[in-house]
Amino acid sequence: MASEAPIHGSIVVQSKASAISLPCRQILSAMEEKGFAKDDVFAVHLAVEEAFVNAVKHGNKMDPLKTVTVDYTVDEEKVEIAIEDQGVGFDPQSIPDPRVGENLYRPEGRGLLLMSAYMHVFEYNERGNGVHMVRYKDRPIAGRSDVAAG
């Protein structure tokens, strides 16, 4: 019988895109152990990838001397993830809506939208170098009007 104790992890990894594979595997494996559905796993996988790429590219500016810290807790009801880089931070409000006007044709700028669309809680810290995300098991995301409206 699987343990009901939450699964925690805290990993400091190199600032390169491929470094997310280990913490990501651990998080997704913990979710499967806790009985999360495929849709939940897909959502968290996407959000973690996007958050990590942002941390490496835009946060740490690809500096190989900097690191990214990934903390996670997975319990029977939710998965909670914090990803923090060593950059100066940014204001998430300064990122234009990629769904509007000419932005729709820009190749970049959709990461924040996807993270906020797939996670129940999605918030940056005050400095703007750390993101905190929560996804609850089998719970629809409120306000996903884009999906419903198509």
Binding site: A17, D39, L46, E50, R99, E108, L113, R144, D146, V147
Partner: protein, 122 residues
């Protein structure tokens, strides 16, 4: 069917060029760059191409792939061609809906319906 690089396969059907992604997950910049080079090579070779990108194997992608598709779309348009997407898994289709890229890409249920949609065949 010819394999240009391990990450795509290329097939020619009824005047259309069908490029299928062979990986089930497309994540890293290196993956995306390799894909872009492969697809752009196909576009350069074909000129005014009727291009179908087949997603039948793809179960996961990041926003970097969306950027790749936009770049490919622009390149195809510059050469007077047309781009269609086919066989997008429901989970991936949701990503297109959230980002409203369903508004700018022609998406078909199958490669057959995509190839048949090209009105102006060469």
């Amino acid at each position: 069917m010819a394999a240009i690089q391990p990450r795509v396969s290329v097939e020619y059907l009824e005047g259309a060029t069908v490029v299928a992604f062979t990986d089930d997950k497309i994540l890293e910049d290196t993956d995306v760059r390799a894909l872009r080079e492969s697809i752009e090579a196909v576009i350069e070779q074909a000129g005014r191409v009727h291009l179908v990108l087949d997603f039948r194997h793809v179960r996961f992608l990041s926003s970097a792939v969306l950027g790749l598709l936009i770049r490919v779309s622009k390149r195809v348009a510059e050469q007077g061609g047309q781009l269609k997407l086919a066989n997008i898994h429901p989970g991936i289709y949701e990503v297109f809906k959230i980002t409203r890229l369903t508004n700018i890409f022609d998406i078909y249920e199958s490669v057959d319906s995509a190839t048949q949609s090209f009105a102006d065949r060469r």
